[in-house]
């Protein structure tokens, strides 16, 4: 067992303990203490939850709202949480379902309302970012282009492939955990992951090839 896995197990045990404690406190009506205890869980999973929501929504404000909703929903439905399942997995399921609902709602909205001209996704409050030891503007631009290309490629994947890829690759979940979160078989999870990588290779490879062709054309001209 690696150090990270051991840390994961101890973290999960701590999560289960905290979740059970919150549940008990809620049942006793000691809400202020229940909230204090729940703050531990929120602190442990907030960053990861924000990442997942951001990968799904591609918009900071919406990802923020989705994370808030998921934590509030998890707290209010903690009575239905079963201890045999890791809290992380149960919570991730709530979060992803919320994100998918939001995406559906957004798609419906966009069908009727023309989108406002906006910068690249997630760049609305770019100015808010703290300028510190940042890379040069050119490097930033290139990195942004790479990320946009990756986001475009990811958005072209079918929903299940995208979920499986993001959970297993970005969040380091095993196929068993992904199967619990998504409700798919473990073997299906593997197939989706394989197909997602193959498709991404094709999409990003084509994009890179097109990029190099354009560069060559620019050089020749």
């Amino acid at each position: 067992m690696t150090g990270a896995q051991a840390a994961g197990f101890t973290g999960r045990e701590a999560d289960s303990g905290a979740a059970s404690a919150v549940k008990g406190l809620q049942a006793e009506g000691r809400h202020a203490e229940a909230r204090e205890r729940y703050a531990e869980l929120v602190g442990r999973h907030q960053r990861r939850a924000s990442r997942i929501a951001f990968h799904y929504m591609r918009d900071m404000a919406e990802a923020d709202e989705a994370v808030q909703d998921a934590f509030v929903k998890a707290y209010s439905h903690l009575a239905s949480f079963r201890e045999e399942l890791p809290f992380e997995v149960w919570f991730t399921r709530i979060l992803i379902n919320g994100c998918l609902d939001r995406i559906k709602a957004r798609t419906r909205r966009e069908r009727w309302i023309a989108p406002m001209p906006d910068g690249p996704a997630g760049e609305r409050d770019f100015g808010e970012r703290v300028a510190g030891n940042d890379p040069s503007p050119e490097e930033q631009l290139l990195a942004r282009e790479r990320r946009e290309r990756l986001a475009r490629a990811l958005s072209k994947l079918p929903e299940r492939q995208r979920s499986v890829f993001m959970l297993s690759h970005y969040e380091g979940c095993t196929s068993r955990e992904v199967s619990v979160v998504t409700g798919l078989n473990e073997s299906t999870v593997r197939v989706h992951l394989f197909r997602a990588i193959r498709k991404l290779r094709t999409l990003l490879g084509e994009g890179q090839a097109q990029g190099t062709k354009v560069e060559k054309r620019r050089v020749h001209s």
């Binding site: 896995q5 809400h31 909230r35 729940y38 703050a39 929120v42 602190g43 907030q46 960053r47 924000s50 990442r51 951001f54 990968h55 900071m60 990802a63 923020d64 994370v67 808030q68 934590f71 509030v72 707290y75 209010s76 997630g122 970012r129 703290v130 990195a143 790479r146 990320r147 990756l150 297993s168 690759h169 970005y170 380091g172 095993t174 196929s175 473990e186 999870v189 593997r190 992951l193 394989f194 990588i197 193959r198 991404l200 290779r201």
Partner: protein, 204 residues
């Protein structure tokens, strides 16, 4: 070792094969060494390239998400979550319907109502008094008005008569003039008149 197995080990893995090896490792959470990769340096290099490409994707995505959610934003989010939880747990307050409460604009509305009522009353009284005054005047001034009304009527009746009188007088005057011009009234002057040329003669 069979020939097939030996061929399998010696032939290079394609992209799908490498992806399958990577997927198995990622899905199980354990990095297993594939027998072909142990022996084939070319495939090992390609597998390393694939792994590094996927690692780059992961690090890019993680960096982007972490940039989007700096610690300040996470702290604000944390605070907002607990505000919402507190608000959800607080029992709902029933606000009494403000039956006797006066709205903030009650004074001004009362004053404006009084002003409007006074203006309306003043208008009604003014119109009434005006009507009464007009009626009284009309009653007191009735004879003069009848005269005034009659006078133009009589004048209207005289006009044609006057016009006809003046027209007949003109006619008579002109015919007298013609007659006096056509024949000299003084016998002593008739000879001189006969010698005098006339405008009518000249035009002829």
């Amino acid at each position: 070792m069979s020939i097939l197995n030996r061929l399998r080990l010696t032939a290079h893995l394609d992209d799908a094969g490498l992806t399958a090896i990577w997927t198995d490792a990622a899905a199980s959470g354990v990095r297993q060494q594939h027998p072909h990769l142990e022996n084939c340096a070319v495939c090992r290099t390609r597998f390393a390239e694939l792994s590094s490409w996927l690692d780059t994707l992961q690090s890019e995505a993680t960096t982007e998400a972490d940039e989007a959610f700096p610690p300040e934003r996470l702290a604000a989010q944390h605070a907002q979550i607990f505000r919402r939880l507190e608000a959800a747990e607080r029992p709902a307050r029933v606000i009494a319907f403000p039956k006797f409460a006066q709205p903030l604009t009650s004074r001004t509305s009362h004053a404006s109502r009084w002003v409007a009522a006074a203006a309306a009353a003043g208008l009604i009284v003014g119109v009434g008094v005006g009507q009464l005054m007009d009626l009284r005047h009309s009653l007191s001034d009735r004879p003069s008005t009848t005269q005034a009304r009659v006078a133009p009527a009589s004048a209207r009746g005289l006009e044609p008569r006057l016009q006809s009188i003046s027209a007949t007088r003109d006619e008579a005057f002109l015919s007298e003039l013609d007659a006096s011009l056509s024949r000299p009234a003084v016998p002593e002057l008739r000879a001189i008149d006969a010698f005098t040329p006339r405008a009518d003669d000249r035009s002829r």
